[in-house]
């Protein structure tokens, strides 16, 4: 009887533990809807992605961006300055066909692009951007640094990072 109880507790604790890990480290959800196909939802627990990264080859653990060169320091200062400044529209372009809006909303930069047949919305959490820039080593960005930034930023919860809507397709990437 005791053995059964122990087994039941162990079995119950596994999904609870996993749920706790997902809740504490976050979950990136990729949601793709097409007009004529199935809806595909891929939830990626960040703790799992981080664990998988340990087995990945070296080239998959880093993103080469040599063009960033000496700019991360400037970019970091820009991000810090933007975090300090008041909310408002930074850039708005309307050329009749397309409308582009870049706005500072709280600790995020929201980019909205809309045209006749497509709408794109991107949110850049400034805290996460700052952390990602900190992980740049002069030529490469560490993927682990990006995952850390995504999981540590509490402001990201429930945020649609990317939302693309066209006539036939809708793609949403959000963090939970």
């Amino acid at each position: 009887m005791f053995l059964l109880k122990t087994a039941a507790v162990v079995l119950l604790s596994i999904p609870l533990l996993l749920l706790g890990l997902v809740a504490s480290s976050g979950l990136v959800v990729v949601d793709v809807k097409t007009s004529d196909g199935p809806r595909i939802v891929v939830p990626v627990p960040l703790f799992l992605a981080r664990a998988a990264l340990g087995f990945a080859p070296q080239e998959a653990r880093e993103v080469e961006i040599p063009e960033l060169g000496e700019y991360p320091e400037i970019a970091s200062r820009l991000v810090a300055e933007l975090r300090d400044c008041a909310d408002g529209i930074l850039v708005e372009v309307d050329d009749g066909d397309d409308h582009v809006l870049i706005e500072k909303v709280g600790d995020e930069i929201a980019i909205e692009v809309s045209s006749d047949d497509e709408e794109v919305s991107v949110r850049i959490p400034l805290a996460a951007a700052s952390e990602i820039l900190d992980s740049y080593d002069g030529s490469r960005l560490r993927v682990a640094g990006i995952l850390d930034a995504l999981s540590s930023s509490s402001s990201l919860s429930g945020t649609d990072l990317v939302h693309v809507r066209s006539e036939n397709e809708e793609v949403k990437i959000w963090v939970w």
Binding site: E81, C85, A86, V91, G96
Partner: protein, 181 residues
Amino acid sequence: MNRTLLAVSLALTFAAIPLQAQTPWIHIEVDENEADASHVKVNLPLSVVQIALEAAPEKIVDHGKIRMNHIDEDLDVEDLRRMWNELRSAPDSELVTIQEKEETVSIRRQGDQILVEVDNRKDGDTVHVRVPVTVVDALFSGEGQELNLKGAISELKSLRGDIVRVDDGETKVRIWIDEKD
């Protein structure tokens, strides 16, 4: 004791409000009049512009100084600097006036401001530029063919109101600085 603490924290709170409100923002608005016209609005804190300037290619902007000969070979910054040094100490007056049949260009000093006005009667184009003397001073504080853009932006922080207004009949451009709270 508690009252003193409350008074101090209240005073600090109210003291912080004007400081926060004094962040200067530069606004650029471009409006085209024609059908399918473009409308562009840019609003940025000057501090952000100053940092962004550092990201410009070194060939053109080095340590906040813009090398004009890479942009316009005909523009001689040294000549302009010499001219400015002659004109800057002039009292309030018309510094330059060019009157042609269809166009009048006037550059005049009014207090600590330099006003540039272009009026093209044929096309109806008008240009109004208002720049404080200290901004032009800072701009020409570079050496040789360099203009000190960083210094000029730094001086712009104390300016409020319209700097540039251009209306060429088809496009209206307005650049101004204010405080966004």
